[in-house]
Symmetry: C2
Subunit: 331 residues, 2 copies
DNA sequence: TTGTATGCGTTATCAT
DNA sequence: ATGATAACGCATACAA
């Protein structure tokens, strides 16, 4: 790789002249600037990030820690993060915690030594469960941290999340207003907070419209064959005209049940699942779905972090952003 | 962040003594080493990557360029890369080319300035299509490059790929040996090389066993409703007892067709798609599938690169590794 | 056994 | 308008 030194030697000027010329400093003649830029271009000069980083105490790199890259939600968030960071001239250093607090702590250490300017973190399940967040609190300046999706109220910093209760509330409301009378709820994630919130939203809408709640079914996805049978029984006995699934798997599984039993037309059940545009392609007939807008979560989180990093005033109050989901209705 | 300088001052020794002690040099007394290590521990000292990188001309960071993070195949490869790199003490800097040559070239530039030690790249569709790979050839030392999955024979370097022809050859053979007589082939990716290879494997197995080829159907996934109808017609007229789908979407779509028409039992068609363990969960009844073992591709690619980076001899011959797929048969 | 000096590539300050 | 110099954090050749 060519360096300022090399360019300087070839041009017969000093290193600082080259540096200033490339940074378009006021005190360098237009002529020199042109000569320097041309050679730099020709030599395919790229400033060395480590040299600049060492000097400026800034790496223009953001550390990202996600619990699970195989979860398409996080992959999509990452897409949004990458998009926004790229736009603002930042690199991303991506780490995976595998949902484990220990790994998460290790990654924080790693990234700090990698001299990232700031952190974008979605907390590991284990961390949330145990409320064990000292590895974050003690090692990361909240001015350099944005939490997304998996939040903890034990840390005072910028957050970007989804309003799970609002999503299901709105969808349930929409269904009611479309004339559905018996709306059931299906979930395999009632042990998680977001599962509970989604259920709350469903119940809230029903109670607002004084509608009796329909059957609520808890699914365990461990034993699929057994669940399939249970679902079939359920839908045959249940008079629901719409079903809201609290998660991606439940929705698709339920839709498949309708198909295998050829019940879809007979029962006229509208199914609404959680998904994203990519996965939705895999269902046919196309399932109605709630898209959490994951890439927007990533974009927004990155935007907030970069804004804070580049603001010199430490006076920006912490914000709590909620990203709205998009509902895709086909029927 | 604490630095060697700070530790040195607190201990009343020189910077180099601290540095050597932490690196366990021979010429430092055990006593001093202990004192230094203890303080370093207490201060939560982390060596600054940029300082070390600048000095050593090594960043212990690997640049990864993938075409599309929303494609679960690449997300899974990334998982494997991260796993292996993490194990060997390397960070990964992940970039997305969005299948565009221009973006890919930009990312190469970016990563070079970020001073990565080496590159793991899966080429963008556009790059492969146009054979336009100068941005790689001219800017990356082949000793520091491993291509994976999307390969080009215009670049002489280590490669890790899948043997697409072999996969479908083996699966077709298995089906024949299980007694299937009429094996059809379904594809929506016949425009891609890997799609062509998968078809070749299918045809090769049939010809080896002197079995007449069954219907071969090209799917376009643009207009899903139309395709669905076409598929239904196809399966009703077609006497196939097994269908090999060349890609994930085709397989799931076809399986759904069987379900919507309640044809599954009547026709007794065995479907084999491409998928991974995660996506396979979304089908019911569980679809037979070929798992490309994507995370292994990532692990192997990272392993090869690190081995080459850490070998001082430049004499290692380039290797061409093929990762075998796993076939999951449920019926 | 420990310390001093140097340089990696960059930028900012202060001469000239 | 240009150049010399110092400093960022680290590792190492060499001196003591």
């Amino acid at each position: 790789m060519s360096s300022l030194k090399e360019l300087a030697k070839l041009l017969g000027v000093s290193i600082s002249t080259v540096s200033k010329a490339l940074n378009n400093a006021d005190d360098i003649s237009e002529n020199t600037k042109i000569r320097v830029r041309e050679l730099a271009e020709a030599m395919n000069y790229q400033p060395n990030k480590m040299g600049a980083g060492l000097r400026n105490k800034k790496s223009k790199t953001i550390g990202v820690i996600i619990p699970d890259i195989l979860n398409s939600f996080f992959a999509e968030v990452l897409f949004g993060i990458e998009k926004q960071c790229s736009k603002k001239g930042y690199d991303t250093l991506v780490c995976i915690s595998n949902e484990m607090t220990k790994k998460e702590a290790e990654k924080v250490r790693l990234l700090k030594s990698g001299s990232v300017d700031g952190f974008l973190i979605s907390l590991a399940a284990q961390t949330l469960k145990n409320g064990d967040i000292n590895h974050i609190k003690n090692n990361i300046d909240p001015q350099k941290l944005v939490l997304f999706d998996r939040l903890s109220d034990q840390i005072n910093c910028d957050r970007v999340g989804v309003d799970d209760q609002k999503i299901t509330y709105q969808v349930t409301k929409q269904l009611i207003e479309k004339g559905y009378k018996k709306i059931a709820f299906l979930s395999s994630i009632n042990n998680l907070n977001l599962g509970k919130d989604r259920k709350k939203g469903y119940l809230k809408a029903l109670s607002e419209y004084s509608i009796a709640k329909e059957n609520i079914m808890e699914l365990s996805l461990e034993s699929r064959a057994a669940m399939h049978k249970k679902l079939v029984d359920w839908i045959q006995k249940n008079p629901a005209d719409a079903v809201i699934a609290a998660d991606n798997s439940s929705g698709i599984m339920f839709q498949n049940c309708l198909l295998t039993q050829n019940l879809r037309k007979a029962k006229k059940v509208t199914v609404i699942g959680f998904s994203n545009d990519k996965n939705a392609l895999l269902t046919f007939p196309k399932m109605n779905y709630i898209d959490q807008n994951a890439s927007m979560i990533g974009e927004k989180a990155a935007e907030l972090l970069i804004k804070r990093l580049e603001s010199n005033s430490k006076e920006l109050p912490f914000v709590d952003v909620k990203i709205d989901a998009k509902v895709n209705f086909f029927e």
